[in-house]
Amino acid sequence: MRAHPSEARLHDHADQALAPHEAAELERHLAECAACAAQVERIRSLTTSLAALAPGAEPARDLWPALAARLEAEGRGEPARVIDFPAHRRAAPAAVWLQRAAAAAVLFVGGIGVGRATLARAADPSSPTIAPIVVSGPSGGATGPGLTPASNGGGTPRSAMQAARQVQRAGTDYVAAVGAFAELAPGAAEFDVQQGRDATLSIIAGAAQELLRVSPADSAAAELLRVVSAARAADAQGVANEVHF
């Protein structure tokens, strides 16, 4: 009789995970070795029993009422597509970083104090929600050259990509607002549009790098970093370009 196969090999055989020629060889051993044959049988018996365990269980109480209340309180929100939030909704460090970056960028737009600009608060004053900002032209519509309404997708970012887009929108708004201000307010030339764009791109690049540090396989973050890096390189060479993501 040949040497006994390893325990791992017996498990693999019980799981039908061996190649056909390996399985055939092991079967020849089992035909001669009662101990190994019995061990394979024990493993098979165990795995068959485990697979047949009850698939469902009934909680001691109906969890739905408490769950429904929680869902109503938390709202649907955007999915955490890039950053996977852990249980109990504690935000991952990268998500917190991005939310802060987005908040900082939105406040940055508000902070330049263009005309009667104010940073609107959400209906609930206790809420930390970043309210959407709509930049409108003199006629009340968002008609100014290059003005981009940021009402879509405003609010507290719930995913890294949403946060990054909010940063990007804030940057776009900043550039548009400074451009309009320069037109309307003589002597406003000291506002440096490129400087605002640089700051925005830097924030987004940092966000993407942080995402990649946490999730190296995140293709969205890699793409984000690629696009922003290309934009910064083009800026450095004085080549006109637009950032889209």
Partner: protein, 180 residues
């Protein structure tokens, strides 16, 4: 330039859109909660924690339902969310303290398993509960839930070889416990 904030949406019926959404989500919950609770109960061996995690799973499903593309069955997708959520919890628990299952814990768990799953084999459930957490997770995912080694390796962030060695260790411990 003026900066305006958009009006808050108001539901004409007096019922908020969120409340109506939640109502329709109940059907999803009712169809899947038993399987999710069974998983969280076996993985944690703690009935209260399992209830809490079951709720966490459905909160996450609720928040990410729009990303479900129908490429797999909804039940499969929900189950994957349940596995990820529970594993994250176990990992965070392990970081905080090495939880040791006491005899009292085991008795309490067995009583809950008997009540919650009357048709199950309690000797097996008890033996699973006595496994070290890592080996227990692998055994549950491979032998009870039927995940391939590769998927379990990805979920746990380990190699397939590690999954297999943990699995073989878990089975050995199970066989020893059942033969006592």
């Amino acid at each position: 330039l003026t900066v305006l904030s958009p009006p808050e949406p108001v539901a004409a019926s007096g019922t908020s859109p969120a409340r109506e959404d939640v109502g329709s989500f109940e059907e999803v919950y009712r169809a899947h909660y038993r399987r999710v609770y069974a998983l969280t109960l076996r993985m944690t061996c703690d009935p209260e924690k399992a209830e809490e995690l079951t709720q966490d799973v459905f909160v996450r499903v609720w928040q990410t339902l729009s990303t479900f593309r129908g490429e797999s069955a909804l039940s499969t997708w929900i189950h994957t969310v349940a596995v990820r959520t529970t594993l994250q919890h176990i990992r965070s628990e392990n970081r905080r303290e090495a939880r040791v299952m006491t005899t009292a814990d085991l008795t309490r768990y067995a009583a809950e398993a008997r009540r919650a799953m009357p048709e199950t084999r309690i000797d097996l459930e008890r033996a699973i509960a006595t496994l070290p957490p890592g080996a227990r997770s692998v055994l549950l995912l491979v032998d009870v839930e039927g995940y391939p080694y590769e998927d379990v390796a990805r979920l746990l962030g380990v190699t397939v070889g590690t999954v297999k060695s943990q699995l073989h260790r878990a089975r050995k411990l199970m066989m020893e416990a059942l033969e006592k």
